[in-house]
Symmetry: C2
């Protein structure tokens, strides 16, 4: 899905409207709608079915809820909601019915399925409701520590700390090491990334740490060249500098140089990132990472709540 912020103006009126309402942050609704819209890429790309989404978060009283639904009715919108309080969810359903707004409860069905499975009723209390006390859990501190570690280790900084990382990424410039590192950090993994640059020796510590946590990234040379050209433009490279960085032969040679290093280190899984979104590459890496740690018959990522 081609995504553009609407703030600029232009064409705001055209296209179908989707309203998203949450008593919380709204990120569950946003993520779910984003994934579901992936199923309509075939008509989104050529604008045959342009879609405007509007996210309303922190909606915890019926008055505002009703006001939003009235507005959705005016715009002919679809309403997708996550409301923990059963009376709010019911109010949404009723009001939508009354004003002819099609609607779907995003989390209702899975919350019910979990309730039946656990034999426990859901609290009905939205996140962030007054009186709910939260965090300063181990997990909270771990995530923040991971983010701060990962920022400090970006782009080959402090190779003496590679042993402290949970995951180490290696690859040539513009294979997505930085955004991938940050994505992992948000999930609580400490990540270090080490660039491969032709003619520059890799830090010795890279070969001294646990090799099973190192992942190599590779990419199609034509795509890499396109990405680097865009990058060189942004950075304002020119002349010699630019040609070295984004010219075809250089890009191919650098990838070949990286491949030779990877071949010498067969424990490092080589992950192809071409055409993958950051979160897709992340899924592949984490699958292998957990598989190696668990050594269980079916690769899976497990958590305990």
């Amino acid at each position: 899905a081609v995504q553009l912020g609407v703030d600029g103006g232009e064409d705001e009126e055209e296209g179908k409207v989707i309203y998203m309402v949450s008593d919380g942050t709204g990120w569950t609704a946003e993520n779910s709608v984003n994934a579901a819209l992936g199923q309509f890429d075939h008509c989104l790309v050529d604008r045959r079915c342009a879609v405007n989404t509007h996210l309303f978060s922190g909606i915890d009283d019926v008055e505002r809820l009703i006001e939003i639904i009235k507005q959705a009715a005016k715009e002919g919108g679809l309403l997708l909601y996550t409301l923990a309080d059963p009376s709010m969810a019911e109010a949404a359903k009723q009001a939508c019915h009354l004003w002819g707004v099609p609607s779907t409860d995003i989390l209702g069905p899975i919350t019910e399925a979990i309730a039946t499975h656990l034999g426990v009723s859901p609290s009905g209390i939205p996140r962030g409701a007054p009186g709910r006390k939260v965090f300063l859990t181990k997990e909270y501190f771990k995530r923040i520590e991971a983010i701060e570690f990962t920022i400090k280790q970006d782009d080959g900084a402090s190779p003496q700390n590679l042993n402290k990382a949970d995951v180490v990424l290696v690859g040539v410039s513009r294979t997505g090491k930085t955004p991938l590192s940050i994505y992992f950090a948000q999930k609580g993994y400490k990540v270090a990334n080490v660039p491969i640059v032709m003619g520059v020796e890799l830090p010795k510590t890279l070969f001294q740490i646990e090799q099973e946590k190192i992942f190599a990234l590779t990419i199609n040379p034509v795509v890499l060249q396109a990405i680097r050209k865009a990058r060189a433009k942004t950075l304002g490279f020119h002349g010699e500098q630019r040609s070295n960085y984004s010219e075809k032969d250089h890009v191919r040679e650098e990838l070949a140089f990286a491949s030779r290093i990877f071949a010498l280190n067969p424990v490092w899984p080589v992950i192809e990132v071409t055409g993958k979104a950051i979160e897709e590459t992340a899924a592949v890496v984490l699958r292998i990472h957990h598989d190696r740690k668990q050594k269980c018959s079916m690769p899976r990522i497990s958590r305990r709540y």
Copy 2:
């Protein structure tokens, strides 16, 4: 929900089991289940209803799907899935029925609602399926640029670039500026954060840039002191250094110092972060940010697909 990785071992056998299956990354399932489990915090905290989740991503053939469902049946698990291919989704449903595994399709209902709303059928093609070509869209580059900018601007670095940020966060140490900045960066916002330290002057550029994009963070002093104590321990502070950083009077004075600065800059919204998860604070800040930019009657975050 108290979350602990299961990899360590201990107690793995106890508790109810939830299987999550996706033909994609599995992050939609993970996020949705995480939010839904928030509704069971009341019994998760005291371990009355411990839950073990197992995520299976990239499941794109029936054989592996069936194998997973058989395993779920053995463990008495609940199966929650996102499968774009209708024949895979149907196979999941049938197999679950056959082996008595309770199951719910996470995205099915909203994908159907969107299909009806748009008058277009979903493609049925999972993300990452061969032949689907992706990205190098504006959005892709924007997100990466935002992440790289934000990393470079962490902790008051390069104040001469504050004008290039979309959002600027100010607050004393341990109000969550860094994780919040990174969270925004992932969403494509360029963020700079500027620490407030007693006795240290704020950069002049902070007062020269557009003031509407500056957000101030504040926190309860008792909670801040607890966070700083944990931090001082991690960093191995001791003696004088430690007492200044995490002692009660110093923490109170520093927050009072920050409050005076905020009072002198009434355009900066002051966001209370106490007891809020990073994504909750993010929701509050983005709501105000979009509201200010759009100046529309109902605060909302809009996007165009």
